[in-house]
């Protein structure tokens, strides 16, 4: 076990970061928000942490909390226009948000280091801290799923007009989904910056956006297992497909197309649904949600 850990430690750590960012992406999609802003939140968190630690010598632990606060602020501001939009328009607007964040990081180069980014960030985050952060995030997401909020998110995703007609303040819940996505994204962005020594704006561009979206699409958009399964595939795939390294884009593209076409719920979600169908335990019902897409009808209340 220890040997395995030693050999694959970087992969495990990046896997954990990917899981965290995956939850940030998932929680937005769970509420039916087509946000792809996770990369932007991660950038904000990463730069907050990195600047506080390197420039002002603030304790890394506190800097991560500051990153979380910035994530809440940014996502709240972002939610003001976005909670009023739907569907593809949200996707476009969040895409624009990420571009604005990157452009500003490049422009205020005196403060952010411009295209060179910030170097010499102390590495204080290790697997333990990442595990802790993922654990806390999972607990939050899990308890959300079991609470009224989770059920409201499900209702919003399935049909927001029905949700509104049931007296649910949908703007408020969309805002909440954004803020949760923002704070998780910023925390893991901050932890990433305290792990990788240096950050630059390119780290949070289109590729990062695609990466966190991929994790959730592959894994699944509803269950707790989703981002873990997705991140696991994305972590293992490059190892298995080493000879294909040059063609990783093709591989990723083909997998995205195949999964969304034939397993639209994602590998992790399909697995959970299958297990629930197989064993029909009441624990499925305590999630208190009826899942309709893809024929996986779990309504054992």
């Amino acid at each position: 076990m220890m040997n395995f850990y030693m050999a694959y430690q970087p992969i495990i750590d990046f896997f954990l970061i990917a899981v965290g960012l995956g939850y940030s992406q998932q929680i937005a999609l769970k509420a039916g928000v087509f946000s792809i802003a996770t990369a932007g939140f991660a950038a904000i968190g990463a730069y907050t942490s990195a600047i506080l630690v390197t420039r002002y010598g603030i304790h890394p632990m506190i800097s991560v909390f500051a990153a979380a606060a910035m994530g809440i602020l940014a996502s709240w501001i972002l939610s003001l226009p976005l909670a009023r939009l739907r569907g593809a328009f949200q996707a476009i607007a969040t895409l624009a948000f990420v571009q604005v964040v990157i452009a500003l990081l490049l422009y205020f180069s005196g403060f952010t280091g411009g295209a060179l980014g910030i170097i010499n960030i102390p590495r204080v985050v290790n697997t333990g801290w990442l595990l802790l952060a993922v654990g806390v995030t999972m607990y939050v997401v899990w308890s959300l799923n079991r609470s009224k909020v989770g059920r409201v998110f499900g209702a919003l995703r399935e049909d927001d007009s029905v949700a509104a007609s049931l007296g649910i303040p949908i703007q408020g819940y969309y805002t909440l989904a954004f803020i949760l996505s923002g704070v998780i994204g910023a925390v893991f962005g901050g932890m990433r910056s305290l792990y990788v020594f240096n950050i630059e704006p390119v780290d949070f561009g289109f590729a990062a956006m695609v990466a966190s979206l991929t994790v959730v699409v592959l894994g699944g958009r509803n269950t707790l297992l989703g981002p873990i399964a997705g991140a696991l595939i994305m972590a293992i795939l490059p190892e298995i497909a080493r000879p294909l390294a040059e063609n990783r884009g093709i591989l990723n593209g083909v997998i995205l197309i195949l999964v969304i076409t034939f397993l639209p719920n994602g590998v992790g979600d399909e697995l959970v649904y299958w297990l629930r169908r197989r064993f029909r335990r009441p624990s499925a019902a305590t999630l208190g949600r009826t899942v309709t897409k893809g024929g996986a009808n779990v309504s054992a209340h």
Partner: protein
Amino acid sequence: MLLQQILNGTVSGAVYALFALGFTLIFGVQKLLNLAHGAIFMAGAFIAYYATINGLPFWFAVVLAVIATGLVSIVTDFVAFRQLRKQGHAEFAAIVTSLGVDLILMNIAQQVSRTQVLSFPFGTFPVEFYRGFGMRISLLQIVILVLVVILVAALYWYIHRTSFGRQIRAVSSNETTSALLGVSSQSVYLQTFFIAGALAGLAGVLIGLQFNSIHFMMGEPFLLQAFVVVVIGGLGSLMGAVLAALFIGIVQSLTIAYLSSELSIAIIFTLLFVTLLFFPNGFFGKADTFARGSRR
């Protein structure tokens, strides 16, 4: 100086219009975002480049690129959208599958070009400048403007004055009803994807000529630009896309000239945000389009 910048902005805006027209056409008909559009644009420049350096005459290379990108676009439809149309709720899924096609095309281009920045051989297109009213305009810029005006007029004519165009508009307003009335939505999809891809491919060639650089990531900024254009113009509105493209082109060249290029990006995307906030249907979209309300 100011007039010169406005002229330059108009020319780049004209190319954005070619790109954005295809994008908005697909959205208008299918209500889906085609994220592979940027890669198809890039493919146009690549095909024209490789045809030219392999000794084909330039005009032929351009025609080849336009037809080939039209076909690539049709293949994109087959691979990424066709299956989803059958299943329903495709909006999110289409973003992902077209992203998949985008990744595949970019990877192929990266392999083919060995990640290098390519440029058309000198003299592919005659370099000539004309002066007047204190401005300078190149032959290429004139050709671009004329070409775009002709193509936009032709597309407008095709959509609004021919039977094919009527079918496209019928499918875009209601697919089921038009199918009941005997319109083959399959042929409409083929047409729209071919037109969209061909326009993007031509835009790719023109941009490759104008900036003299072709690389596998060149489509990405244009795709992002196209989002701004179609949102401001109103998703699905052709005239809106053209006017918004010209507007964005001018704003961009002015901000780059007088401020900085990073700030220009920030300003343009802030513009997108403000538009979404106050005019979510854009300035030319129909009042009942799909920005708000139900996601079905």
